[in-house]
């Protein structure tokens, strides 16, 4: 089997991740729920994981890294915890439903108005739209770091300059970039960064979180047990406890912590270079094929930096049919359909049939990229 669906989840994890979860399952108590050695073992591990996330993503304070179940939960925390009734939010057509649905819910329930920065036919954000969409009551910009459909990376420096010029909050979804695109939230002046642990960070599913810039107030999205201030009716105000009601997924976080060690030792640049080389090699073989349409701006001279994603369609075939053929006949795992990014597909004219997404990871090889390209060649012929 050739696994090319790393943008959905990195299926193969480093061995150290598997070992860390296994050890945690038999040695760790409940983090922040006591001072016995088993609880402290979990607490220390979680504390260390916060520091590693903070280092990787450029969050100044490790205690402002709060863990969550995934990026979707983190984005719900960020959006519901900062946007108030009757305010306006600017977002983009590139977004995943993990951003769109929390915003649509605010639109329906809190009279929040939404403005969408358009994606052009190549899926690139129309940056001039940010100024055009600005309203007197605009509170925040919610923006992905890279499209999960095309892989194109958004110019966060430009978005950040806009938000800070106008005193807006900037919430960034780094689901597609954490671990494979260098990022420093402090240097870029990002306010809230939402990440998932199971994609480019190579951790277990069920891990993720939010990095909060010092001074940014986020209302708790959920409240409950924290192991501290038990007689208070309110959620404790200090980060990260403020955003972490209930027992953490410490077993998963143990795996994530080991994965972060792996990334730190390997190097984000090294990972990015390897993955990009595979994507480029695959793209170079399929783009010239008769009947293959490539999405995004990858073939343009002034293309944006991008993650290791290549999305295509073949002839007039349904993307699901091609993905199924790749799976059943060639043993190649890809992702077809809308990728939970409806506005992006509408912008690119692929709302009806979606696209086939090939996404490369650290454990993929040149041979696998070539085999995938050969399969596409056969299907297109």
């Amino acid at each position: 089997m050739i696994y090319l669906d790393n943008a959905a989840t990195t299926m193969r994890k480093p061995d150290c991740v598997v070992a860390a979860v296994t050890t945690a399952l038999t040695t760790m108590g409940n983090a922040s729920r006591g001072a016995h050695e088993e609880s402290l073992a979990a607490s220390r591990m979680v504390f260390g994981a916060r520091e590693k996330v903070a280092r990787l993503l450029g969050c100044r304070r490790a205690d402002h890294v709060a863990f969550a179940a995934n990026a979707t939960e983190a984005l719900n925390i960020a959006i519901a915890g900062t946007v108030n009734a009757h305010e306006n939010v600017i977002t983009t057509d590139l977004e995943h439903n993990s951003v769109l649905r929390p915003l649509y819910r605010l639109e329906a329930e809190r009279d929040v108005s939404l403005g969408f920065v358009r994606a052009d036919e190549h899926g690139r954000p129309v940056y001039d739209d940010f100024e055009r969409l600005l309203q007197p009551n605009t509170r925040a910009v919610v923006c992905t770091h890279a499209s999960n459909v095309t892989g194109d990376v958004v110019d966060l420096r430009r978005v950040s300059a806009f938000t800070h010029e106008h005193g807006l909050l900037l919430i960034v979804d780094v689901s597609q970039t954490a671990g494979c695109v260098p990022l420093n939230m402090d240097a870029l002046d990002l306010d809230l960064v939402c990440f998932t642990g199971h994609k480019g960070l190579y951790g277990p599913q069920g891990t993720g979180g939010i990095c909060v810039r010092e001074g940014v107030e986020v209302r708790p999205w959920k409240v409950g047990g924290t192991g501290v201030s038990s007689f208070s009716h309110e959620q404790p105000p200090a980060y990260p406890t403020r955003l972490e009601a209930g027992t953490l997924n410490s077993h998963g976080i143990a795996g994530l912590s080991a994965a972060l060690d792996f990334i730190e030792e390997t190097g984000v640049e090294t990972i990015a270079t390897h993955e990009a080389a595979l994507a480029e090699r695959f793209l170079g073989q399929v783009a010239p094929l008769d009947g293959v349409t490539v999405y995004g701006d990858a073939l343009l001279a002034d293309h944006a930096p991008r993650t290791a994603i290549v999305s295509i369609n073949v002839r007039d075939y349904d993307s699901g049919a091609v993905s199924d053929e790749l799976s059943q006949v060639y043993g190649i795992a890809t992702r077809s359909g809308a990728h939970c990014a409806p506005r992006m597909h509408e912008s690119m004219g692929t709302a009806e049939r979606g696209a086939i997404r090939f996404s490369f990871g650290w454990f993929n090889t040149v041979e696998e990229a070539d085999a995938a390209a050969a399969a596409v060649r056969e299907i297109a012929s």
Partner: protein, 79 residues
């Protein structure tokens, strides 16, 4: 068997994260002590506190302050 009570320094923290940061910093500096559950005599703070010898206050707080680790209070208690 009755619990034996002795005088001890107790440092309280606002968050578990601060307590764990303190534990590591004090460990690195070789300052004796350990994490214990917050004694009931201390009303403010998270569930974890640092217990050390009763005369260690100056040394412990100096290390924490130098490392920029926030602490909520220092108490000498018979616990």
């Amino acid at each position: 068997m009755a619990l034996e009570k002795r005088s001890a320094l107790v440092i309280a923290f606002d968050s578990t994260t601060d307590a764990l940061a303190a534990e590591r910093e004090l460990g690195v500096r070789g300052v004796a002590g350990r994490i214990i559950p917050l004694p009931r005599e201390v009303s403010a703070g998270c569930g974890l506190s640092w217990k050390a010898a009763p005369d260690a206050r100056e040394r412990v707080t100096a290390v924490l302050d130098e490392a920029g680790i926030a602490w909520a209070g220092a108490y000498v208690l018979t616990i």
